[in-house]
């Protein structure tokens, strides 16, 4: 996916408000697809599904941020939690591409700590 340009005009409130997290199992890996604004409103959902994914005892947990249109610090806090929180059981890989998600991760130096992949298929390579 190419870089997305999100400006004040390109998203209306309804589109901005809609976010979702979907859990999928793929060859022993648990994949969380996150769409929309990953902020305070969506963060609890990501936490809930990351914990559910952990109970499946996957070999790998992948959080796919490809569809994320806004990555707020509440969302980054959940990435850290999934990486090294008390319920983290599998190695975490994060799919982030484009400045919308990479820039906040760079500014907080979370790129040093999280394993970041440019695409889901890269993240799923054992």
């Amino acid at each position: 996916m190419g870089e997305r340009d999100v400006t004040g005009d390109s998203l209306d409130d309804a589109a901005g408000a809609a976010g979702s997290v979907v859990l999928e199992s793929r060859d022993g890996a648990a994949v969380l697809h996150v769409e929309g604004a990953l902020d305070l409103a969506l963060a609890p959902k990501l936490r809930q599904l990351a914990e559910r994914a952990a109970r499946l005892r996957p070999a790998l947990l992948v959080i796919d941020l490809t569809g994320v249109t806004f990555l707020a610090s509440a969302g980054m806090a959940e990435l850290v939690r999934a990486h090294r929180g008390p319920t983290a059981s599998a190695p975490l890989r994060v799919v982030a591409t484009g400045r919308i998600t990479l820039r906040p991760l760079e500014l907080t130096r979370l790129v040093d700590e999280l394993a970041i992949y440019p695409s889901l298929s890269d993240a799923l390579v054992p």
Binding site: S10, L11, A77, E113
Partner: protein, 527 residues
Amino acid sequence: MPSRPDFDTVLGAVRRAFVDGDGAAAATEIRQLGPDEVRAVLGHHVALAVTDRALLAKLVPGKEITRAVALAAGEEQHGALVYTTEDAGALPFDVAAAIDAATADLAATVRRLQGEAAVVDALHSTGRELTAQLDIDRIVQDATDAATKATGAGFGAFFYNLIDEFGESYTLYTISGVPREAFARFPMPRNTDVFAPTFDGIGTVRSPDITQDPRFGKNAPHHGMPEGHLPVCSYLAVPVLSPTSGEVLGGFFFGHPEPDRFTARHAYLAEGIAAYSAIALDNARLYERERTLATELSRSMLPVAPPTPGLDVLTRYLPAATGSKVGGDWFDVIRLPSGATAFVIGDVVGHGVTAATVMGQVRTAIRSYALLELPPSELLRNVSELTTGLFGESFVTCFYAVHRPSDGTLVYANAGHLPAILVRPGEPPEQIGEALAQPLGVGSVFPQRTAGFPAGADLVLYTDGLVESRTRDLTLGIEWLLAGIPGLLTASDLGTAWDKLVDELTRGRHDDDIAVIHVRRRGEDTR
């Protein structure tokens, strides 16, 4: 109302009733009826002779029908028309009349039960909608509309009490069934004998004709309804009581210009909606209280920047415009024993009272270490350790900068916070401290940097609410902020210029807290 296979039995019996004068069976045919046709042909009847030629021609075109009987088949709401084109006596009509008479009570009972089920459904769905709301204005209007409809009132009103910021109670109302202007000219109802049972929360008042009630018309100046008041004859009023405190939150009032319109069932419905409204209003109040508490807590912990020799310090703190996120941002300006000044800006992830209290503690910790004059790098490392220990997994970003007038420098460290903006005289705005370290509670190493901060230089620290939102990309937001800085520096009034810039960057609405510190070094106190 029989249903299959009983219906087939009844249908068979009716068909056998189609006989001529000699008792010989006439050939009959069946035309099935859909729900709409059943309603149109039979109304509430279970069996009915159909003699309307035009109706028969429409149902069964092109046939000369001599006798026809329609039957309804119970709950599936379908039916059948039995007819013949042969000679047949009046027996089918007698049979139809007999079936109808025998089932009339049953049919009436079924209708009543269906009516009750509809009432319960309506009450349930109204309750579900009301209790899912936190917006008081919508709760009261939706409740008034639903209750006015459910009671069949000519008009309904809901008077409800609110507490203003000074703790004073005041009353507002909503209207349903008539335009609001119809009420606009009248004073608020006072606690007269008629209204007392409602406003005092004693119980429901139901009157077939309120003007005949002994409590009516006792009070000056109106002695009844004010002139021009909507004509109220039938009257129903139900108090709304808080389920948590028992306090009277308000009251529903329903009127109808004709007498005896409100039944016990209407009162029951209105009481049901009042109970749901009470829960919804309680929820809204508790939510509002939590939000206010978080805002108050955040505000009360924010400092007034102390006077700092040689520095002009402007600060802004705007709590989130939409309630749920208030509480995480803070800033601080601390004069240190050595004569230096520390500037702190930060953001605690989370919202509400929890974030506000964590923020308060982190802020105090930073203040304490700052007064010990720990270098920025050391200070953030200690606070990060403390944060992890005290709050478990937390995520706090913080920019910490110390201005030392003695050597005209700025020493800073940044725990995952947005970069600061430094503008030195004659140079373009420059971002400093970008991506130096991870947030507090996450990172353990916090490198510090030193920059010159000469007379005439400006430093701007800010939180993410200023530059990013669901509809504003961070990278662009920062570009726009940087583009706005030169205009600020030449403005005659820095405060007004900041308010304008904040407004432009956020397009007048921000759903996250915003905190800003702008420091300008005047320079007259330099050594």
